[in-house]
């Protein structure tokens, strides 16, 4: 019985934690794989640097996506975000399961909007980190 109680409390604590991250991080022209809060970003640094090349006054949403296993999935996501006039650039990294979206600095990025756009393509966005250029 005690074991069951302990398990219930432990499970409740896990569930109570917010699984989504919407943290802003300062970025100085190249990618820090480890953020200031110690979290690992897991973005290909070469790919990221290529992505941000020529971008100014932008913020990059790095979105972790589940179920992105082929080009068709990626293409749907790319098409959907390209319709958004606030999106300056998008890159899909199938190997890391990441989508990089560049927005203007003045755009307030909402994770729920991004999550919805990815869901209508049949995948799940599970967290997001915002990097300021």
């Amino acid at each position: 019985m005690k074991k069951l109680l302990f398990l219930s409390i432990f499970t409740s604590i896990i569930w109570a934690e917010n699984p989504h991250e919407h943290m802003h991080h300062s970025h100085e022209g190249h990618l820090h794989e480890q953020l200031v809060d110690g979290k690992k970003l897991e973005v290909d640094p070469v790919r990221f640097d290529k992505f941000v090349m020529g971008l100014k006054n932008s913020q990059i949403a790095v979105v972790n996506v589940q179920g992105m296993v082929c080009d068709f999935c990626a293409r749907g996501i790319e098409k959907t975000f390209k319709k958004d006039k606030n999106v300056k650039k998008i890159d899909v990294d199938l190997s890391k399961g990441k989508v990089l979206i560049a927005y203007n600095n003045n755009k307030k990025i909402k994770f729920d909007d991004i999550k919805e756009k990815i869901l209508i393509n049949g995948q799940n966005a599970i967290d997001m980190t915002i990097l300021d250029l």
């Binding site: 179920g67 068709f72 996501i77 899909v92 190997s95 393509n121 799940n124």
Partner: protein, 199 residues
């Protein structure tokens, strides 16, 4: 122009069941050919959960032509970091009347490296009903990036109750951009060619 379109659609054949639903607002055109039938199929997906479409069939076994109004529904999808699993329901009503139709399920599980799929389809016809089954496994010999040419080596096994025997054969699947081509060969069924274009 008509001949070119026919050739394109014919080479689009084999993979009618591959990705039967597109992303929301997406359209797909496919073609299929084997020893039983030739078909072309267009579908539109208002949502990632279902698609509606029209399939034109030249049935070689019964020597007749007809069309199906088709509906496919995503019963279940499980996305994880490195894989996706799907289970679909499919159905169609024939232009020959409400007494001729088909229904079935098919499913798949795939990572960027591995693919496993199956399908069951029962077709009701005035002449004779029949059941089609298939299973397939595949492996990608290399992992391409988004936009690269992707290649899959597949092993397919299928049975049609009209012929009542299993046929197992290798197939190659090539995939780039919006286009997918799958080619298989077996001496009984000859070439098995699928082509799919998504837009």
């Amino acid at each position: 122009m008509g001949i070119k379109l026919f050739i394109i659609l014919t080479f689009m054949s084999l993979g009618l069941d591959a990705r039967p639903i597109s992303y929301s607002g997406g359209s797909t055109i496919m073609a299929f050919s084997d020893n039983i039938k030739n078909s072309t199929y267009y579908h539109y997906s208002p949502s990632y959960k279902y698609s509606i479409g029209v399939e034109n069939i030249k049935n070689k076994y019964f020597d007749e032509s007809y069309s199906y109004a088709r509906f496919t529904y995503l019963i279940n999808r499980k996305n994880s970091q490195n894989s996706q699993r799907n289970l679909y329901f499919q159905s169609g009503i024939s232009s020959k009347g409400l007494s001729e139709y088909f229904y079935g399920v098919h499913g798949d599980w795939e990572t960027r490296r591995l693919f496993v799929g199956f399908g069951l389809k029962e077709t009701e016809k005035k002449i004779k009903n029949y059941l089609e089954q298939y299973y397939q496994i595949g492996i990608a010999p290399y992992l391409g990036d988004y936009g690269d040419l992707h290649t899959w080596i597949m092993l397919k096994s299928k049975k049609n109750s009209l012929e009542n025997n299993w046929t197992t054969y290798p197939a190659l699947k090539f995939f780039k951009g919006n286009t997918l081509i799958e080619v298989g060969y077996h001496k009984k069924i000859n070439w098995d060619v699928h082509l799919m274009y998504r837009f």
